[in-house]
Symmetry: C2
Subunit: 283 residues, 2 copies
């Protein structure tokens, strides 16, 4: 039977619950991470834990347990659910307290973990091009905090789905793409330069984004971290998205307009290959 972890207990998934006055439920006063599992390993685990710590710290929520303990719980949850390929979801909320806006003091954070099985990474499946649409970015101004305040993202993904697209790229008031509803956005410009937006309060510093930049640098390939407009993206040679569990997906159409020749581009496929190799277990 599927198990979930809630505040010290491994529970049957269907019975896993939090109190109605958990601040995650009443105030979106909670943060989360989703980590890919490949060959039983948590991909970029330390990067995700670093970001979890940072999100919590920005909100003055203490870590619910040490990293070592988080590792133990994660491993046990994967074991109980027999998951070697899939994803691990970690949510930490400030905890339960009588409803009141200010952060209450001295309460215990709520820690929830779930795990689910997914198909293993498969280059051929990943290499299929996807469409994206562009939508106004209506999110708050602290997107660097990975909070569960995801309603704008859920609305965006719903619009994308209705349009037959994989993702919605969000556009700020200046016409620049910030990021996807649940992924980072990349282009290879008409001049062949790999570009992804710089990190600031308006996007989440993607862990997969960071890993791609490292892999690209290791290959001696250049890149720029800067904002790019919808027009530049539509005139790009290539485009793609990155996220921890959808990995890398070539983008072949933006708002219905073909990117480049309308097929997955060579640099994107090269990076996808590098990323697939990166996730293989090392000797």
């Amino acid at each position: 039977m599927r198990s979930a972890y809630v505040n010290g207990l491994y529970l049957p998934h269907g019975q896993a619950a939090v109190h109605i006055e958990d601040r995650g439920f009443q105030f979106a006063d909670a943060v989360y991470e989703v980590i890919a599992v490949q060959h039983g390993h948590l991909i970029d685990r330390e990067g995700h834990f670093d970001r979890l710590e940072r999100s919590l710290s920005e909100l003055d929520i203490p870590m619910p347990m040490t990293r070592r303990a988080l590792n133990v719980v994660a491993a046990e949850l994967l074991r109980r659910n027999s998951i070697r390929f899939g994803s691990l979801y970690i949510q930490v909320s400030r905890g339960t307290a009588p409803r009141d806006f200010p952060f209450p003091k001295d309460i215990q954070p709520t820690l929830v973990m779930t795990a689910k099985r997914l198909k293993p990474f498969d280059f051929t499946r990943q290499a299929v091009g996807v469409n994206v649409i562009t939508i106004p970015d209506i999110r708050w101004k602290r997107c660097d905090i990975k909070s569960v305040g995801l309603l704008a993202g859920a609305m965006g993904k719903t619009r994308a789905q209705a349009a037959g697209a994989f993702e919605a790229w969000q556009v700020d008031d200046a016409g620049m793409i910030t990021e996807g509803a649940a992924s980072n956005a990349w282009i290879v410009t008409a001049d062949g330069v790999l570009v992804t937006r710089h990190t600031d309060a308006f996007i989440l510093a993607g862990i997969t984004r960071q890993t791609i930049l490292k892999l690209v640098a290791d290959e001696g390939l250049g890149f720029e971290e800067r904002a790019f407009s919808v027009a530049e993206a539509k005139g790009a040679r290539e485009a793609f998205t990155s996220s921890s569990t959808a990995f890398i997906r070539p983008v072949v159409r933006i708002d219905g307009d073909a990117v480049g020749d309308g097929r997955p581009g060579p640099l994107c496929l090269k990076i996808l290959e590098l990323y697939g190799r990166y996730m293989e277990p090392r000797a």
Copy 2:
């Protein structure tokens, strides 16, 4: 023992829970209302229900039950908790579904209600002036939807509390005050004009705000619905806040600067008196 209502059941408050995959907990995909209870009556009940319906409709979430049924549950919850003066909290989330960004179809909304006892409205206590601070408005661009995505508001109220203030008034990029973290903002200008911000996507259309406008109009007093700057507020004769459960509070300092003579203003006190009378049971 204190009771809460969750999806058809009246439960001991301490045992009232929602599933960890409730979208209210994982995506802030939920809306809410807080209604004042005076003399056993829900103040502006229909206005709150109208707004609840609108918030849900904007998010394509169905009403969890008819208004008549909501009324029955609310009355029963007040009865079980013996509450004649206090507040009723209603939260509706999209429901529980395996975690995925797009709105899932055909799931049952989650309905949670809690009630708590508060002191009856008291003119003398309400008439005590409070301080506010101003902070940047970092919220999303759909503040007209009363969603539980309240982390920015919680951060703002925490800052206010740390500064010894009652409320934080949020300021947009143009230097205009939008609203408080959990209340609407009002001033009486240097020229004696009552002003509160017009409603649009950047503020919540307060029910108490709307009632005040009606009461003021009934008295033949004028008002303007328009944006005002921090400078105009600091140079105002009077200022005050309004919300459903804090009612009306005179604001006597903004960022430490005295408003007018630093004491609750006559128009604010007049409106407070009208509002108190409005909440008395009618024959």
